[in-house]
């Protein structure tokens, strides 16, 4: 399979979520990742 990276060096495919039971804190962590990313943008 021939695939290329994005211009920033990321894979074009989606990143793979863990199998099995989802982290009990998944929603909280997802929201926290977004908040920290938003703060990074402001800086």
């Amino acid at each position: 399979m021939y695939a290329v990276l994005t211009k920033d060096g990321f894979i074009s495919r989606p990143y793979l979520e863990p199998l099995g039971a989802k982290s009990a804190n998944a929603t909280k962590l997802q929201s926290a990742v977004k908040q920290v990313a938003a703060l990074r943008k402001v800086k």
Partner: protein
């Protein structure tokens, strides 16, 4: 229940020491596996806990085309003056699948890690001929070894370079305390499901942000 063929080809079982000294290498390996587009699996439900049944481990090996086995802990422990044999045992199970298994089990590929590349000659010389890499107890070395192995074995053409992965990993590590704090968790005590979930969310978010910039 076994996983689909597609999931099997995406799964990477990480078989490594549980001690806190190893945690920086473990966390870097998990990040590298995810950043290369694979799914890290680990018997650890918690970063600092120990006992996991052999059934669980054999299931994870069965369900993973790729497995990483770190043999760097060969020293006798302080309590019993005996080395831990779990990692070589689990490597043996994976090698047994390759030799005696059926169908996709024979297509497994293993990466053996140690502190120094040829140290294994002194304690498990029968594995000569396998893919053995050294990490020198450095996360960056481990990331490079894992990345190069996945690139070679998967033949995927979109595996990022080790320097890209490490640059992102350093950013992730610098942001992880704040992420954990906002989620009312301690970044030093994240469970494996919490840690691996956060890695995936962070990578997706970083990719999106880079595309929008």
């Amino acid at each position: 229940m076994t996983v689909s063929r597609r999931q099997y080809d995406q799964n990477v079982f990480i078989n490594c020491p549980f001690d806190s000294e190893y945690t920086p290498i473990f966390e870097a390996i998990v990040f590298a596996v995810a950043d290369c587009g694979f799914r890290p699996l680990c018997a650890r439900e918690r970063m600092n806990s120990g006992q996991v049944g052999l059934d669980k481990i054999t299931e994870l090996i069965r369900d993973s085309r790729y497995s990483i086995h770190d043999l760097s802990r060969t020293e006798p422990d302080e309590q019993y003056s005996l080395p831990r044999f779990n990692m070589p045992l689990e490597l043996g199970i994976a090698l047994g699948c390759i030799r005696f298994g059926a169908g996709r089990q024979r297509q497994k590929t293993v990466l053996i890690l140690d502190r120094k590349r040829f140290r294994y000659h002194k304690f498990v010389s029968d594995i000569a001929g396998q893919d053995i890499s050294e990490h020198l107890n450095r996360p960056a070395q481990a990331v490079e070894a894992v990345r190069n192995w996945l690139r070679t074995e998967s033949q995927l053409t979109d595996i990022p370079g080790a320097e890209y992965i490490m640059r992102r990993y350093r950013r992730f590590k610098s942001e992880l305390p704040e992420i954990a704090k906002l989620a009312k968790l301690n970044h030093k005590r994240l469970t494996f499901p919490d840690y691996s979930w956060t890695v995936v969310q962070w990578l997706e978010d970083a990719k999106r942000a880079a595309a929008e910039a």
